[in-house]
């Protein structure tokens, strides 16, 4: 039996971790750490899980510790946000090459400077090129379910890559919502135990992890990493189908909302997609043919599927919650890339919104749709929502 609870996004992910009962969780226990590990630490202290909780002296050490534990054969996790991810970057970048299936929930928050604690996607979007799988969540429920999915995806023998599971800082991480927590035994059965083929504590089968690989083999190892990313596309759907049997929800690469006969759609990630769906409904009631696409799996990016989904529309607005200074914004870049092969490319428009926690309202989304339907678009121009003049 599943149970409905009133939980923050952070608590919802801590519930997923409680059910997965990782062997090791490492965390630097002050800002910018998230309430995810705060809640999880209480599960450890109360004996609800038998995880070895290791408080460390920095985020860099948190990821180092998680890497060591995962290499030893443990299911090891940590969580972070903004500056924390930035500080652990050196080790984060090493994890995919080490082929360690670490799942790390991320509470997406702005990067300094200026100092800001609020939501945007600058932290995770800075980490899209180093080989972590990335899944974005709209609300607390999705963050919970995506964490469960991520564990199976990461540990799959054809993947063996780390996964970041995102939720929007404060908006989701600190907001209380209704969350359906699935039955403990059913979830435990689904996530199972990590059974690595090889691990450092298996002294009968010694192996080397993280060796020196100069021009002789470095390139080849990186090519294998890319093959694992390709496999992740397939495994994501397979594991999602299994999870569907428990949750009753689907796990597509991206969610298509009222797109069937749409003329204009927006592409948008995470919590703002919820607000935007309400805007779509209101415009539909006015007879406007609008819809929405919400990417869930951002790395690997499903280019072919995205192209097929998008090429039938007349106009597409892509809303990014981060910038790629001096280049097109991250989500916009991928949408453009996906459409290059298309015979009938829709008109595109890039929008930036919500940096450093700037609010976004239904009315802002409606204005975007009006602009998309008006045809006043310039695909080489970046437009800004609610930016002060």
């Amino acid at each position: 039996m599943s149970t409905w609870k009133a939980l923050t996004g952070a608590q919802a992910v801590a519930e997923a971790m409680r059910q997965a009962n990782p062997d090791v969780v490492a965390a630097y226990p002050i800002t910018p750490q998230t309430p995810i590990v705060e809640q999880f630490a209480s599960f450890v202290a109360n004996g609800i899980v038998d995880t070895e909780m290791i408080p460390v002296e920095s985020e860099h050490s948190a990821m180092s510790c998680t890497v060591g534990a995962a290499a030893a054969g443990a299911r090891a996790m940590c969580a972070t946000a903004s500056q924390g991810l930035a500080l652990m970057w050196e080790v984060v970048a090493a994890v995919p090459g080490l082929r360690l299936p670490i799942v790390m929930p991320i509470v997406n928050r702005a990067l300094s400077a200026p100092i800001n604690i609020h939501c945007d996607h600058s932290d995770a979007m800075g980490a899209t090129t180093i080989g972590w799988i990335q899944i974005y969540s709209e609300n607390a429920q999705e963050a919970y379910e995506n964490t469960l999915l991520a564990i199976r995806l990461a540990e799959h023998k054809d993947v063996l890559l780390p996964v970041m599971v995102m939720q929007d800082g404060f908006i989701i991480s600190h907001g209380v919502e209704n969350v359906e927590v699935f039955d403990d035994n059913v979830v435990k059965n689904f996530v199972g135990e990590r059974k690595p083929d090889r691990y450092l504590l298996d002294v009968d089968h010694p192996y080397t992890i993280g060796p020196l690989a100069l021009p002789d083999y470095y390139f080849e190892i990186k090519r294998q990493q890319e093959a694992a990313m390709e496999n992740a596309l397939k495994v994501y759907l397979e594991v999602g189908k299994e999870l569907s049997k428990i949750s009753g929800h689907d796990y597509p690469y991206f969610e298509e909302y009222k797109t069937e006969d749409a003329e204009a759609v927006i592409v948008i990630l995470s919590s703002a997609a919820g607000t935007a769906k309400d805007a779509v409904d209101e415009l539909r009631n006015e007879g406007k043919k609008v819809g929405l696409i919400k990417p869930k799996l951002f790395r690997p990016f499903p280019y072919k599927e995205m192209r097929k989904a998008l090429e039938k529309f007349e106009a597409i607005g892509v809303l990014d919650r981060s910038m790629a200074f001096g280049a097109y914004a991250p989500l916009y870049t991928e949408v453009r890339n996906a459409l290059f092969e298309s015979e009938n490319r829709p008109k595109l428009q890039s929008y930036i919104f919500g940096l450093g926690g700037k609010d976004i309202f239904k009315s802002d989304i409606k204005k975007v749709f009006d602009e998309l339907l008006s045809g006043n678009l310039n695909p080489e121009e970046q437009r800004y929502i609610r930016l002060r003049g």
Partner: protein
């Protein structure tokens, strides 16, 4: 009742508005509603102005925008109205303003310029009397549910017990529930 009922709470950090918004949401959750409770975060210093929100709905909530047109506004410290437009977006026809003050509703009307329904309650007085601290959150909720009926008194009582029994002990929990009930009786127009 409206399909989505929205409450905004203006307070000072330390007065318990964040917990208040959560207790209210959880009481509605117990009654089978879809809920959201979320605070506006700033630099957290005791005494700084804070805003907390609660949404209660019969259907699944998807929006994640802040509340700009609340159905009810709670003001935990009347001094906030001097510098913050606490009734911003509050309808003078249907909106409800509840202020923690010893002043009368007429005086609050003069202070805020709000021409809608105003209710007052000495929530700080109740809290000082029963708990010897300035924690007006639970009494303010008592006033809110008396005036609006958005959740049942019993649901809030249950949630208060769940949240605080272990942390505060039975005596303080009972005092909180007493404060809730007193506010429920004492709130005035």
């Amino acid at each position: 009742m409206k399909e989505v009922y929205e409450v905004r709470m203006h307070a000072r950090a330390g007065q318990g508005a964040k917990s208040g918004s959560q207790l209210l949401a959880e009481a509605a959750f117990k009654e089978g509603k879809w809920i959201q409770s979320f605070p506006e975060y700033g630099s957290e210093r005791r005494g700084a102005p804070t805003v907390s929100y609660t949404r209660i709905s019969d259907k699944r909530l998807r929006t994640h925008e802040p509340i700009v047109n609340p159905d009810a506004v709670l003001v935990f410290d009347p001094g906030l109205a001097r510098t913050i437009d606490v009734t911003s977006g509050l309808s003078e026809e249907s909106g409800i303003l509840i202020v923690n003050t010893t002043d009368s509703a007429d005086e609050v009307k003069k202070q805020t310029g709000f021409n809608g329904k105003i209710y007052t309650l000495d929530a700080t007085g109740i809290s000082l009397d029963l708990l010897h601290i300035d924690a007006p959150n639970v009494p303010m909720l008592g006033a809110l549910i008396k005036v609006t009926g958005i959740v049942k008194l019993e649901s809030l009582e249950e949630v208060i017990k769940e949240h605080f029994l272990e942390k505060l002990g039975e005596e303080k929990v009972n005092k909180n529930i007493e404060g809730l009930k007193r506010a429920y009786e004492e709130v005035s127009k």
